[in-house]
Structure formats: C-alpha cells, structure tokens
C-alpha cells in the first residue's frame, strides 16, 4: 500500500528517528534540536498512522507554528500516503481555531461568516470606536485609552474575560477603565462580526470549556494530536490544548526545543515544556543529532547554549552528524569601524563568493533596521535583494480588485469592499462607478451591493470585455457561487489586460500593473495552499478567512539575496548565512541588557543567536562593527561565549 517515496523516506530514518516515528499512543515529548530531522519524523509518523488505518475514519490533528510549515508537511504526507489527506488537519493554531469556530461558533453567538482582522490598523479603528462608545457610558474613560490595544491583546492572550479584567491590574484606577474599555472593544468587534487573532484562540478555548461536549467531539474525531514547535506555544494556546484534551485525551505527540524559544515576549516560556510533561506525565525522546550544520557550527552552538540555565534538565548537547567540509565554514569578519562599512563589506563578500547563486544566501539580523542598511549596501553592489516580511494585503490594482470583489460577494453590504471594487475597476477598465450610487440603489432592495454594482456597470459599458467580466461575476459570485472558477477567469482576464498594456507601451497607467506579476504568483500559491489545506470544496468565507491569516508575500525571485529577522528564519535553513550586527545592544538587544546578564530576556537573546547560527548548511559569516548609528558598541557577548572572540583580545 505504501508509496515508493514513503518506503524510501522510512528507510532513511535513523534508528532513534524511526523509534520516534513508530511511537503509537501515550503522550510523548520529542526534544529535537535544530537540524535533527524533526519534520521528517513528524511527517513519517503521521503517514505511518494514516497508511496503516486506511479503512478508518478518524483524523489526525497537526498544529504548526506557520502556514508554510503546515503546507510543507502536508505536501510530504500527501506524497507518502496519497488520498488520505482528508483525514488530516495540518495548520496553525489560528487556522484550526477558525475552523472550529466556523463549525460551532454559533454557540458563542459567533456568526460563521466572521471576518478576521489581522492588521493593527483595523484593530485600532475598532478600539477608537469602542473608546468613543465607552466614553458615553463612563466618565473614567478618555481618549488616552485609545492606546490600550496591546494591553487588550495581552489580556486576551492571558485568557482574561472582559468581565474579569478589573481585578487583574494593580492600578485600580486603570483596572476600572479597562473594565469599561475592554468589553466595549469586544462589543465593537462583535458588531462588525470580526475576530482578532487572539480571539480565535480565546473563543475556541471558551467553547471547549463551556461546552465539554465539543471537546469530546474533537477528541473522538482527532484521536492523534501532534504539535510542532511547541516551545513557542503561549498560555492561551496551551490552555486551548488543555481544554480540548481535558484529562481524557492523552494521545499527544509534541515536538519542541527549549533552546529555540524566541517568542517569550509573546507568552512562550521554557516552563511550558515542563508543564506539559507534568500535566500529561509524558515520556521524552531526545533527538540531539544535527544533520544540517557542519560540526564547527554545532560546536559554536553548544558553546553558546550551555550559558543558558532555564532549560530542560538533562538536555543533551547537539551531536554533529555531518562531516566537516574541510575548509573552516565559520568566518568571523574583523571588526568594522561602523555599520555602513560592515554592510558594504558583507555586500562585497556576497558578490565575490556567491554571485551565481544568490538565492542560497540569507542575511540575518536581530532587527529590521540592520536589514534595511544591508539591503541598501547590496543594492549599491547591484545585487538583487529582498527583505522577507509578512504582507497583510495585496497592493497591485488587479489583485486588490479580485480580493475585494470576493469579499463583497461574501459580505453583501460592506461599503469598504464596495469602494475598493469601484475604485480598482475604474483603474482597470475605465468604467467609473460611484460607490455611493450603488449603496443608494441597494437601499430597500434585498440584493447585495455586488448585484447592484453589476447592474450599474452593465448600464455604463457595452464593451465585450467588460460585459464578460460582469457576466462572470454575476454567474459565479451569486447563488450557487463558484469563486475558484471566477478567480481562474479573473487571472486570464488580467493576462489579456497586460498584453494590451504592453502593446500600448507608453501608456502612463502601467502603474496599475505594478507588482502584478509577483502578486499573481502569490495569489496562485495561496489558492493552492489553502485549497490543499481545507479541500477543493472550500467555501468562499473559509477561503477569505484563511487568506486573511496568510501572508501575501510573494516567494522570492530566483537569484535574490533574502534578508530576514531571526524570528522570520525560524524553522528554515540556508546554505550561506550572514549574521550581522553582533554587538551588545543589537544581539543581545538593548532591552535584554537592561534586564541583566542572567535575566530570562538575556537567555532569549542567546537562543536567538543559537537559532540564527543553526540555520546554516554550509557557511556561516558573522560580523560586527565599532559604531552603530554613531554610538560605540561592544562586540556581542555571544561572540565570546561561542569562543570566537576571547577576553584577551
């Protein structure tokens, strides 16, 4: 029954990896160091269970930290056991919770067609309105409270209910204000039928605790639960897992590395792993083998991390399983006078060594500022470079239009989507429709804005191509809708438009198609990823919700240097890693230094460094300078801890 790929992958597992992949039931913690092949172990185990139970109906739940990781694992499992992907939910906590709430949210008065607000700007608008409302209700609230967004988010991540928040604050006056503002914020979100990221987890947690029947349902359906990158799970996520499994369901398979916690600021804690072991009396398997990095780098990593104390007792040091390439893979560049010089030399170094294969190079920095400086330097050398970052919305006119029209089809009376549709459509085909006209027409009608927009466009333009767009929109976005077919049509239409554009070379409106190509590939990629995850028959609202949770960042063009923050590099690997800005106040950060050399914050910085260097497959280049933004800085303490600098120097 097993595919050739699966048999081959299974054979490649080391004895300890195989033992882990053969783990059947009972709670297990897999302490897996960087490059230990944990993804392979996880996917092999999932594939093995699915493969041996093809006649069964139960499903496996796999929770990951990023959508990309989920997508990668899903395609591996699909490759191993084709046809069984319907029995697998692989996705982020947020994705899974959104799915739970779509199915059962009505019991908490959540309309399944909820919107997900992923951007602070939207949440701030919600809070502003909430504060205005709250001011009417209470004298203690003032405009000052419009600055409490992070506090509200923190409360939610600590699972504090609006009605309980007064007690949480030491400052009673502030507690009183939050006791008005936080509920008002929640009311405002509900009014908009919207959820923020934290409420996805919080509401699902509430559902399972208030109605244990649902937890029982999910326990029945998902007898196997796996969690990847468990170390970065925060309080809310872990409580959600507790609520889901209660004490009945103990069949958890957790993969974690307490040396790679880098989301402490978001509520992750090294204690969580211990908590898990205690709550579930789990067994432990350690996977300290490193198959990724050259032994020299493994040694640096071990040197570094042994300075941390807040980690699992008996944690084994990494064992290098790769052989040394001979030439020393680690380069510490001599100190530069300032960051500009550092960036310039890095750029030159990359040009000299990696010109033909820029795609295999990554520049890692603790902060975005450093990356921007480095990107400038690369540009000066004529090297293509891109800073990898989350992108919440599409930017090019065609895709803003497509995204907006789908949102409008799903949310019949949303003015801002309508406005976006009208605006972008005018840019694409020169048919001006005033969105106020549409709103006016729609009043007292039981049709949505989209149908009225279609009517008005039909009156205004007779050209064949516009007519076709309109026909397709009313055919596929109305009753019995098929948004995927519409999306395919739209992409074809865009292609035709760009061809026309190219022929009329000098057209000043080419602006309309700026970033079109990259967003097109992002759209296609997202469409595939989301339908792989939720199935071909995914409904429009589920698609839009899922889309809201995905970054719209296009995959980098070939032969382009990628610049990333260390957080962005989590879970990834690269041939050539440049780690820049290795000075105190950068890595470790200024804030952690303030907290003291033995503070948990300092340990988090150390783990950041640990994560950064262990991304390396072939070479690691480290650099630091005398001055940053005019301020003199000391070389990073981590350089000393790794043994790359010694105190005498």
């Amino acid at each position: 029954m097993s595919t050739r790929e699966f048999i081959a992958a299974w054979k490649e597992l080391s004895p300890i990896q195989r033992k882990t992949a053969e783990w059947d039931e009972d709670p297990l913690l897999v302490l897996a160091g960087p490059g230990s092949g944990k993804t392979r172990v996880l996917t092999s185990r999932i594939a093995r269970i699915l493969d041996s139970t093809q006649d069964k109906n139960f499903r496996i739940l796999g929770l990951t930290f990023t959508n990309k990781a989920a997508d990668e694992m899903r395609s591996r499992v699909t490759n191993f056991v084709p046809g069984q992907e319907g029995r697998l939910f692989l996705g982020t906590f947020h994705s899974f919770c959104a799915d739970v709430l779509r199915q059962h949210g009505t019991h908490l008065n959540i309309n399944p067609n909820f919107q997900i607000y992923s951007q602070d700007i939207d949440l701030q608008a919600v809070l502003n309105d909430a504060v205005e409302e709250a001011k009417k209700m209470s004298d203690v609230v003032s405009d000052l409270d419009k600055k409490t967004l992070t506090i509200i988010q923190r409360l939610k991540s600590l699972l504090v209910l609006p009605e309980d928040c007064r007690e949480v604050f030491r400052d009673t006056g502030f507690g009183k204000r939050m006791a008005v503002v936080y509920p008002a914020y929640e009311t405002e979100l509900a009014k908009r039928n919207a959820l923020d990221f934290n409420s996805l987890i919080f509401k699902s947690y509430q559902l399972f605790t208030e109605f244990p029947a649902f937890a029982k349902r999910y326990q029945t359906v998902y007898p196997y639960i796996c969690i990847d990158e468990f170390q970065d799970t925060n309080h809310a996520q872990y409580s959600f897992i507790r609520a889901l499994t209660r004490n009945q369901h103990r069949n958890l398979f957790i993969v974690a590395d307490d040396d790679q916690i880098i989301y402490q600021w978001n509520g992750a804690s090294h204690k969580r792993i211990a908590e898990f072991m205690k709550d579930y009396s789990s067994r432990v398997i350690q996977l300290p083998m490193n198959y990724r990095c050259p032994p020299e780098i493994v040694e640096l990593a071990n040197n570094l991390i042994r300075h941390n104390f807040l980690r699992t007792a008996d944690k084994k040091p990494l064992e290098a399983f790769r052989t040394s390439p001979g030439k020393d893979p680690v380069h510490l560049l001599p100190k530069f006078p300032d960051f500009d010089a550092e960036a310039a030399e890095i750029a030159k170094d990359i040009k000299r060594l990696h010109s033909g294969h820029l795609g295999s190079v990554v520049i890692l920095g603790r902060s975005r500022k450093l990356l921007e400086g480095a990107k400038l330097a690369l540009r000066n050398e004529g090297l293509p470079a891109v800073i990898s970052q989350r992108k919440d919305e599409f930017e090019s006119t065609p895709f803003v239009w497509l995204h907006s029209i789908l949102r409008l089809a799903n949310d019949r009376q949303n003015r801002s989507h309508l406005e976006a549709v009208c605006g972008t459509f005018a840019q694409l085909v020169k048919v001006e429709v005033d969105f106020e006209d549409v709103v006016e027409q729609a009043q007292g009608s039981n049709l949505g804005y989209l149908q009225h927009w279609v009517k008005i466009v039909r009156q205004k333009s007779q050209t064949a191509s516009v007519k076709e767009v309109i026909d397709q929109a009313s055919r596929y976005l109305g009753e019995g809708r098929d948004f995927r077919t519409f999306s395919k049509f739209a992409l074809n239409w865009f292609s035709k438009l760009t061809q026309v554009q190219q022929q009329a070379n000098s057209d000043p409106t080419t602006e309309v198609f700026a970033r079109y190509e990259e967003e097109r590939s992002a759209w296609e990629e997202l469409m595939r990823e989301i339908t792989d995850s939720l199935g071909d028959e995914i409904t429009l609202e589920a698609f839009l919700q899922e889309l809201q949770m995905h970054s719209k960042e296009p995959s980098p063009k070939p032969n382009t240097v990628i610049l990333m923050t260390i957080h962005g590099a989590k879970g990834k690997e690269f041939d050539h890693v440049y780690l820049i800005g290795l000075v105190d106040d950068e890595l470790p950060s200024f804030q952690s230094k303030q907290k003291g050399g033995d503070s948990p914050e300092m340990e988090e910085e150390r783990r950041n460094c640990f994560v950064a260097i262990t991304r390396t497959i072939k070479t690691l280049t480290l650099s630091y300078a005398e001055k940053y933004r005019g301020w003199p800085k000391e070389p990073s303490r981590f350089l000393f801890e790794m043994g790359l600098l010694s105190d005498q120097e």
Partner: protein, 641 residues
C-alpha cells in the same frame, strides 16, 4: 443513525408538515391524504447517489392551488430531515469521525444530530429554479465552512440508504438481475477464481453431453456455421450451441426463487404465485438484503430506512396482521404508509401519524410524547432542568424547553418565577402547560393499546367519535342514528364504548392528539361524574367540557332509567314479561320505573338488543328517538371533518 423528524413544505399537498419519526412509523390516512407524497419526498431527499445540478422535482411537485400558480410563483419546496441521537454517545465513534463536518452537537444535552435540507425555489437573479442540498446547523441555518461542501452529501448517503418499496410491487421487477436488492445480491456473490474455473469446465462438460444427446443438434450447428463462412469471420468452427450459460455469472443471473405450491410437490417460480405471496417475498428479500449485504456493501455503520407503501396490498386480513408483527424483525428504520385497519390494529398508537386532507393541503397529527416551547436560556432554567431531568430538558442550540409529561402546577409556578416579569415567556409557558395536560402517560397508552386494539384500526380512520360508556349505548346510538336516517358509518363517525377499551380521559387525549372531533355521552350518576372529572383533569375549559360532555339530562339518571323514563317503559315491560320477570310494583306506584330499570340492569346488553329488535319489528320511526340522544347524534355528524 436514526431519522427523527421530517419537515416538508410546499411539496404537492404537503404545505407545511412536521412529522416526528420513530423506529417504526406508520402513516395512516385515507387516499390522497399525502402518505405517498411524504414517502416520495423522503426518497427524493435521500437519493441513491448525489445528483448533479438538475432538479429531482417535476412541475407538479410544487404546491399549487390556483390555475395561475406555477413553480415560479411557488414559495419553494423544502424537505428537511433531522437525524438525531436519542442518548449521548449513541452514534459510534467511527461514524462521528467520518461525518464530523456535518454533525452538530447540542452542547447541553450532549446529543449529536445531522440536519439535511433539500430546497427547490425559483431564483430571481439566476432566473431559474435553484435546487440544492444543504446540511444544517441546529438553528436551521445552512452550515458554513467544511460543512457546506457538497462532498459531504455523497459521504452521508453512504451511511444512510433509503429503500423504497412502492405499493405496486412487481416480483418480476424486484427479482430481476438489475433490481435494487436481488440484482445487487447476485452481483456481489463472490466465487473464487478456482471455483469459477472448475464450474466453467463442468458446465462445458454438461453442455457437450446435452448437445451430443441428439445427433441432429450437430447437423443444425454445422449448417449455421455457414453464416460465419460468408461473413468471413475466420477459419475454424465459429458457431456453437449453448444449451446453458457457460459462465457462472450468466447462470447466476438466471437464478430464480421457487416455492412449492400449496399441497403439491411442484416447485413454482415466484412469479407464478399469487400477488400476495409475491409481495411478501419482496419484503423478506429486503430483510435478507439488510441482514447480509448492507454493511459489506457500504460502511459498517450504514443503516437502512425502509419506506414501504401499503404493505397490506393483496394480502388477506390475517396475513396483513401477521405481516405487521413480522415487520419488527426487519432490522432497519421503517416508515410505512397504510390504510388498512387490519394493519393499523397491530401498531401502537405512538407509532401512528395520521394524515388528513384539510382543503388543498394535508395535516398530520399524532400522539405527542413531549411538548416544547421556545424560551431564553438562563442558568436557573438549566438548573431546573437538571433537577427535573426525568421530565424537563433544555436544548440550547434551538432555545427549546421540552417537557415529556404533564406539567404540574408547582413546576409551572417555578418556571414562571425563573422568568418573572417576562410576559411573553409567561404566555409561552402557559401554552406549554395547557398543551402538556393532554399528555398520555405510558399507562394510558398501554391501556389504550391493550383494550382498544380491536377498534384501533377503525377509529383512526373515523372522522369523528361518539364516545359512550358501554355496549348498550353503543348499540342504541347506532340504532337511533338509523332511525334518524343518519348513517354513522357513512358519515365516518365511530361510536366508541370507552369502558371496554380504556378510559374516557385517555380517549379524549387521543382524540385531541389525532385532532378527531368527539362528543361523549355518559350517565348522570357518580360513575358519570368520575368520567367528567377525568376529562376536566386534562385541562379543558368549562366551555369546552360543556360542548364535549353530555351527561344524561336528569341528575342521578343512568341510561336504563333514562330509557324507561323517555318512552320505552312499555317495551321493557313487554320484554320483561316475555322473559317471565315479574315486577313487585304497580304501574302507578312510586318507584315503578326504578324497578324496571333495576331489572334491566341485570343484563344491560341483552335487554338493549331485545329492545332494538322489538322497536325494529314494530316499525319504529324517528319520533321514538329521545331528543337528548338525537341531538348528540346530529351534533357529532355536524362536527365531522
């Protein structure tokens, strides 16, 4: 997974019906009352496989009344099916796992359910009739997310198989190789490769011996082979004669069931037996199919629903009754339509749904085992339900409070307190209390099922009931109606002597449940007052009771005395004399009439029969009918639905 409720709207004569479904449900009713429409609606909503975009309805399926009506103007057909757990964890885990995306959980009661809606309605924007299947949330809204995907229907249909046996069961069809059970059984027969080979060889040998039995066959064959020479099919021998199919499957597909004819040794093919035998055979074929083939062909959890139209067709009364008892052995949910009193006789009242035509639409009535009201959820209410879990339940998914029994005054007051000051909720609770008074307890039903068995079939098909105490009243009322020129049978009025068949309260509850108009005539003595009190306990208003219950007009009078006092003293005296019963009092003495009455009480029925005979032979006319009884008869005929 059991079907527990069917809701049909605007489908033929079913304009708006909600029908609870039990393990066995019998749809009783006259012709044209919507029984077949209901079964067919079920069949359309549960097709054998998911259909494409086309509609399974034809234009006459849309409920239409006026000539200007058309499917376009129809409010649209809705067929909604609810499958529900009766107890937590009833559905196997593997089923819950497989259908997770469409199963809804009632969180407070921890009960799972699946709602499926088929709707078909003209869509203004699309300018066509849009037909769609949707799975539902508990509040009746279509599911969003994964539950909305169409793949769910295909999956779901592999767990619920509906088998429809129409009234016109033809064994020729049902036992053909392409039929739903027999064909499926034949096709699924597994013969091992080895056995197949052996069988093929053996068949070839038999074929050869048959052919060589008479040399002339070979001559015919050789002659026919010339065809292939002309058509140039190749060299060698191309034509052969097969006396019998040479492949095991061909042979199997010719299989037929033979049953010995009564009193002979001759095997007769089923199709040569009578219609009744054929009809029965098809039913038992279904049973064996369910027992042997259903699960291997679909899923281990797959369950069947048998929609059976008129099982009584072509069967004589005893066979009909035997069949009704035998149907219990078919291990599937059964929804059966019938208009045979013989069949209905064997069915407990709780399983019967009575369909009746009401103008252009049909309505359904049945014995309610619980009553419901929509009230908002509060913690106090949940506590109240937990403390009275034997009787009260709250379904938060639909905000429904249900009471499975009669709501007592204390319970009513407790509930009012929970919602103090909320007038609308109070009104709803009052309605619930009043309705719950019609609850028929298990004892009531057991009594009715035991005593009223004989008349069950008949009374359910009646259009009105005239309730009376005993046999004498029964006989007299029928006779007086005859004198009045009103045939109770023709009018559809059943006279029920409740003392022999149950209690007046139970019959009244039953009449209410099945929405059958009734009038009760009873003695005006202690016994009669007891009956009246029983009825009062069912929560009827004085006005309703006055209309419904007719005690004999004089205080302390029973039927016998009433008759003696209302013009039949002479006939009774003659009858008593004939039977040599002497009276101690003289005609003019006080207590004379009482004495006659007390004599005839010794053999109430006997004297009643004698009285009727006497009146009949004397050519009595309507002037002899006591006004009180005459009015009751006229009134009940006027109430006929």
């Amino acid at each position: 997974m059991k079907l527990r409720e069917i809701i049909v709207k605007n489908f033929r004569c079913l304009v708006d019906v909600v029908i609870p479904i039990s393990d066995t449900t019998v749809l009783a009713g006259e012709n044209n009352s919507g029984k077949t429409a209901l079964l067919e609606a079920l069949g359309i909503a549960l097709p054998r496989s998911a259909l494409g975009r086309g509609t399974p309805f034809n234009e006459y399926d849309y409920h239409m009344v006026k000539t200007s009506d058309s499917p376009q103007t129809s409010e649209g057909i809705v067929i909604e099916l609810w499958f529900r757990e009766d107890a937590p964890d009833e559905w196997p885990n593997s089923l819950v796992q497989a259908l997770n995306d469409i199963i809804q959980t009632e969180p407070v009661m921890d009960l799972d359910s699946i709602g499926l809606r088929l709707s078909s309605k003209y869509d203004e924007t699309a300018k066509e009739i849009v037909t769609k299947w949707e799975f539902l949330a508990l509040d009746g809204q279509p599911l969003r997310g994964k539950g909305a995907s169409l793949g769910n229907l295909i999956k779901f249909l592999s767990y619920i198989r509906l088998f429809y046996l129409s009234a016109l069961r033809d064994s020729d069809d049902e036992f053909s190789p392409r039929s739903q059970f027999w064909g499926r059984i034949l096709r699924d027969l597994k013969i091992s490769e080895e056995q197949r080979k052996t069988l093929t060889e053996e068949l070839a040998t038999i074929n050869d011996s048959l052919l060589t039995a008479d040399p002339r066959i070979e001559q015919v064959r050789a002659s026919l082979d010339k065809v292939s020479k002309i058509m140039v099919l190749g060299t060698g021998q191309n034509t052969s004669i097969q006396a019998l199919p040479l492949k095991p499957w061909d042979l199997m597909s010719k299989s037929q069931v033979v049953i010995k004819a009564r009193g002979t040794e001759i095997d007769l093919p089923l199709t040569r037996h009578g219609q009744g035998m054929q009809s029965l055979a098809i039913l038992f074929l279904f049973q064996s199919y369910i027992d042997v083939f259903l699960k291997p062909l679909f899923q281990p959890e797959t369950e069947a629903i048998l929609a059976l139209e008129e099982p009584e067709a072509h069967l004589h009364p005893q066979a009909t009754r035997a069949l009704a008892t035998n149907l219990g052995e078919i291990k599937s949910q059964k929804i059966i339509s019938s208009h045979s009193p013989y069949f209905i006789q064997e069915i407990p009242f709780t399983q019967i749904r009575l369909l009746r035509r009401d103008g252009p639409s049909s309505k359904v009535s049945y014995v309610k085992r619980f009553f419901t009201a929509k009230v908002p959820e509060t913690q106090e209410l949940l506590n109240f339900c937990t403390n009275n879990a034997h009787k009260f339940a709250y379904y938060s998914g639909t905000s429904t409070l249900s009471v499975s029994g009669r709501m007592e005054e204390k319970e009513y007051r407790d509930l009012l307190t929970i919602y103090s000051g909320q007038i609308e909720v109070h009104a709803e609770l009052k309605r619930l209390r009043d309705e719950s008074r019609l609850y028929l307890s298990d004892n009531d039903l057991a009594d009715l099922d035991t005593y009223a068995k004989r008349i069950r079939g008949e009374i359910l098909f009646a259009r009105a009931w005239l309730l009376c105490e005993g046999q004498s009243e029964y006989l007299l009322l029928r006779y007086f109606a005859e004198l009045l020129g009103k045939s109770l049978d023709q009018a559809g009025v059943a006279v029920i002597d409740f003392q022999n068949n149950g209690s007046p309260g139970a019959f009244l509850g039953l009449a209410r449940a099945f929405e059958i108009p009734c009038i009760m005539v009873c003695d005006n003595d202690d016994e009669g007052n007891k009956f009246i009190k029983q009825v009062k306990d069912r929560g009827l208003t004085d006005e309703e009771i006055n209309e419904l219950i007719r005690p004999l007009p004089e205080k302390g009078v029973d039927l016998e005395l009433f008759l003696v006092k209302n013009g039949f003293a002479l006939e009774y005296r003659q009858i008593l004399a004939k039977r040599n019963v002497s009276l101690s009092k003289k005609k003019t003495e006080v207590g004379f009439k009482d004495e006659i009455a007390s004599r005839i009480r010794t053999d109430k029925t006997g004297y009643t029969i004698a009285l009727i005979e006497k009146l009949r032979s004397a050519g009595a006319d309507e002037s002899r009918v006591p006004e009180f009884l005459g009015t009751a008869i006229k009134d009940i005929i006027a109430k006929v639905v």
